[in-house]
């Protein structure tokens, strides 16, 4: 089909203009992606609309790629509105994908790391020899003119270090000060600035301080700056590792898609794929956007998103999801979700947001962080005053050392990082296991769950009933019974009818037309098929129609009871008033439900099953999966009440359901778990979404949550203890008893590595294996 013959609603006039290539441009250019342009005649219309916008110099459309390149000064909003007025949709092409963003972030981090390392070396190049000199000779005092000259030179060199390696602390501190806020920069700038200023006072005006106090602290100034820069640099490296999970998810995105437009295949960046575009994917390639298969057959590996190890067969009509891997065949699919709407983009977005959210446990640290720096500044002043008033001689030197050490050792960052770093790794770890945690609060509450309510259908079981047994009386065949039953049920939407139809289809049974169809409420159905009167339903229906259920000594009631005891639903089938057999239908239990439930129970969680099914079936299913507590015949609206009852009994309740019927119960539970079907993440009522159907996701989610909370507690404890113990020791609290006063250099090292310790501890979570818990 040629371009000029393609028509759509937007083509009001034929304008057989050929698509033109985007011209290279030198001025500011905006690239718009046009949606709804079905024919080449749209080109002139869109270009005309854009050229009419004030500030537009040129507008050139590439019809094949459905992009238009606009140069000029017009704002993007005006361009989009102009295209929309012309009857199309437009968006600004963000040539930048998550993957590009990540690359840029890594590049920016690397540049910053290198800068900090350079600053570290500069500071240590001066600080280390000075430190060695101080340790070897113990002589850092100013007594002679020569010493004054030498120390003046060193003081100026130290100022050079402060400017070259510590300038960012001082600028940050000053800007924060003007902004009425204080941060880590404030403490470092005040600490090192005080030490340097005092030393310069000693150099310039030695007589202003007592003879015993004429010490200089240039080595401390340089080394502290060097160590803190080193700590920050190492922290950046460690932080990079905390976001590995999100990197892995972003890495799943394909960069290009092979789009078929106007019978031509072209490789386009995935940002340029439009809704309803046909996309070809060959074996070994990633699915670039979400869609529905229109041609071909293949097996797709979805394990990267769902954790489900087995490849999933896909054929015409099946859904494919961006980021998954096409294994065997070549397929063509129609794009149904593109850009930020794909399941993968939503997952990435959700994980990013959850990683940035804080669980309630972090709130105390937040409150403390908000007051921390000024409190430390006040402590430093009080400490200096205490030394000046009560300290031994030289009191001024002790006061300066203690104030500097207090300012340097206090580390608001360790407190601030304690929670977010662990959440970052924990949420990412969960995502790797196919568990999407909505926010930090859900993460924290999941770690405290004491009771888990499981909906039976679709949660413990597959949710799609299947024919399990066809028991026929002598003289009848399975084929005959199934053929008649399926003929009667054809067209019905009832799950049991669907199960029978499916079996008939699998066995390639040809159906006949049913007439005189009559549905008998709570009993079954009757109809005429091929001139035979057919009855299909429960025991009551058979009794009412005088159908004998004991055929030649063969008790079919007993057979039916035995099937019910195995969690199957038996239905009698009679032809012309005589029993022909029993068809039993069951919703099979998921392969790994039993082991998953055992995992939950092993972790001390009370597992309760809820179902709308009859008691016998519920009892049988519960027994099969090892649940002793079950509630049957529950209406969907009563599920929330059961959640409430357990909460009243003091349980922290997790509710697991399919997210549709169970929405109120999911919302009411302390933590609502939605079992995703494949990669459908549009389940808004759940706190945690399990992307695969397996209940092991529940145990994984709880295990990861517990491990993350444990990690947060370790971090918070470490950060609290570090500051609570470090600051008083730095102030000299041990001096009266043990004669110990901390060296500011030690404080600098401790401060620099406290943040690093927090980030490294959070990184330990990466090694956590949820499946082993």
């Amino acid at each position: 089909m040629s371009e000029s013959t393609v028509t759509d609603n937007h083509c009001h006039s034929e304008h057989p203009e050929k698509p033109r290539a985007v011209q290279p441009v030198t001025s500011a250019v905006t690239e718009l992606i046009i949606d709804g342009a079905g024919c080449a005649s749209c080109v002139g219309k869109i270009e005309g609309a854009l050229k009419a916008v004030s500030g537009v110099q040129q507008a050139e459309m590439n019809f094949a790629q459905r992009t238009v390149s606009v140069s000029g000064t017009a704002p993007n909003e005006a361009l989009i509105q102009a295209v929309e007025r012309a009857g199309y949709n437009a968006k600004v092409s963000s040539a930048e994908s998550d993957s590009d963003e990540l690359d840029e972030k890594e590049q920016a981090d690397l540049t910053y790391y290198k800068k900090l390392m350079r600053e570290t070396w500069i500071a240590l190049a001066l600080g280390a020899p000075l430190m060695a000199y101080a340790l070897i000779t113990g002589e850092m005092s100013v007594n002679t003119t020569t010493e004054r000259i030498v120390w003046l030179i060193i003081g100026i060199l130290t100022l050079g270090v402060l400017l070259a390696s510590g300038r960012h602390f001082f600028v940050g501190a000053w800007k924060s000060f003007l902004n009425h806020s204080a941060n880590m920069d404030t403490l470092i700038a005040l600490g090192t600035g005080t030490a340097w200023l005092y030393s310069m006072v000693v150099v310039f005006f030695p007589e202003a301080v007592p003879a015993q106090a004429r010490h200089v602290y240039f080595e401390a100034t340089a080394i502290i700056i060097g160590l803190i820069d080193l700590g920050l640099a190492l922290e950046i490296k460690a932080r990079g590792r905390t976001s590995e999970a999100i990197k892995r998810l972003i890495g799943l995105q394909a960069k290009t898609a092979r789009v078929i437009r106007d019978d031509q295949e072209m490789d386009l960046p995935i940002e340029h794929v439009l809704l309803d575009d046909l996309v070809r994917v060959r074996p070994g390639e990633k699915i670039p956007v979400d869609g529905e298969v229109t041609d071909g057959h293949t097996a797709i590996d979805e394990s990267m998103l769902t954790g489900e190890p087995m490849p999933v067969e896909k054929a015409k009509g099946d859904e494919v999801v961006a980021g998954t891997l096409n294994k065997t065949g070549s397929i063509v699919f129609r794009a149904t979700r593109v850009g930020k709407d794909t399941a993968l983009a939503q997952i990435i977005n959700m994980v990013k947001r959850a990683q940035n959210s804080k669980p309630p446990i972090g709130r105390l640290a937040d409150v403390i962080s908000a007051f921390f720096v000024p409190v430390v500044m006040i402590t430093a002043v009080i400490s200096a005053l205490a030394w000046l008033n009560f300290g031994p001689t030289p009191a001024i030197a002790f006061a300066i050392v203690s104030a500097t050490t207090v300012l340097i050792i206090a580390c608001p960052c360790a407190l601030g990082l304690a929670t977010p770093m662990s959440v970052m790794v924990g949420v990412g770890k969960a995502a790797e296991a196919g568990v999407l945690i909505r926010n930090g609060e859900a993460l924290q509450t999941a770690s405290k769950i004491t009771a888990m309510i499981l909906d039976k259908t679709g949660t413990i079981t597959l949710g799609s009933p299947k024919v399990t047994d066809v028991v026929v009386v002598k003289g009848r065949t399975e084929h005959e019974v199934l053929q008649l039953a399926a003929s009667v049920e054809a067209g019905s939407e009832h799950p049991l009818a669907l199960a029978i139809m499916e079996t008939a289809q699998e066995k390639a049974i040809e159906l006949s037309k049913a007439t005189s169809f009559n549905a008998i409420t709570a009993r079954g159905v009757e109809a005429e098929v091929d001139g035979r009167r057919v009855l299909f339903g429960n025991e009551k229906l058979m009794h009412e129609r005088d159908v004998t259920l004991n055929v030649e000594g063969d008790d079919f009631v007993q057979k039916a009871q035995s099937l019910a005891a195995d969690a199957k639903t038996p239905m009698y089938f009679a032809i012309d008033g005589k029993l022909a057999g029993i068809i039993a239908v069951a919703d099979p239990i998921k392969e790994d439900s039993i082991s998953a439930i055992q995992r939950l129970q092993k972790n001390g969680i009370r597992v309760v099953m809820l179902t709308g099914d009859n008691r016998d079936t519920a009892k049988a299913v519960a027994a099969n999966v090892g649940i002793s507590e079950f509630i049957a015949e529950v209406l969907p609206e009563d599920k929330a009440k059961k959640v409430q009852e357990l909460q009243m009994a003091g349980e922290v309740v997790g509710m697991t359901g399919d997210g549709i019927n169970d929405a109120p119960a999911l919302a009411l539970a302390n933590v609502g778990f939605a079992i995703g079907t494949g990669t459908d993440v549009a389940i808004e009522s759940a706190d945690i979404t399990l992307m695969r159907g397996s209940l092991h996701g529940l145990a994984d989610a709880i295990a990861v949550s517990k491990a993350t909370l444990r990690n947060i507690k370790q971090n918070l404890f470490g950060a609290f203890v570090y500051n609570v113990a470090g600051v008083p020791v730095a102030a000299g609290i041990l001096y009266p008893v043990l004669g110990i006063l901390m060296n500011p250099v030690i404080a600098g090292a401790a401060m620099a590595f406290s943040s690093l310790t927090v980030v490294s501890n959070a990184n330990r979570l990466r090694l956590f294996k949820a499946k082993e818990h």
């Binding site: 941060n183 000046l388 008033n389 601030g416």
Partner: protein, 121 residues
């Protein structure tokens, strides 16, 4: 010594006043053109005045390479955004009830407030 002690107490009082008690006035009226630059440990402007009747967009431009500056949180609005370096990021603020809404980095070292006047109609 008395003078030093008095100076110390005044210094403590100044710290308390400057960092906790002082209530800065909103520096800039929030509108869709507002750009908040994240640089040198601060948001500039950090105190924003807004009309609660309308939704607004505030563009954050991070120029500070420190990873501390990377995350922007507005807890009360459940906004949590990663700010790329040297790239504007537009944050959409819905119509809000009158009051003060804090925004800060993950460790609360960078801080700012959005003061909203007038409830949404």
């Amino acid at each position: 010594m008395l003078i030093i002690n008095i100076a110390g107490v005044i210094l403590i009082a100044l710290i308390i006043w400057w960092f906790w008690l002082y209530k800065p006035k909103a520096e800039q009226v929030g509108n869709d053109d507002l750009v908040v630059v994240v640089e040198n440990g601060v948001y500039k402007p950090s105190h924003i005045l807004m009309d609660g009747n309308d939704a607004h967009g505030i563009t954050f431009l991070r120029k500070d390479a420190s990873p501390c500056a990377e995350t922007l949180l507005i807890p009360e609005l459940e906004i949590s955004e990663t700010l790329p370096l040297n790239k504007p990021t537009k944050i959409h603020i819905p119509p809000l009830n009158a009051g003060e809404y804090a925004f800060h980095c993950q460790m609360q070292m960078y801080k700012g407030t959005i003061k909203v006047e007038g409830d949404p109609s």
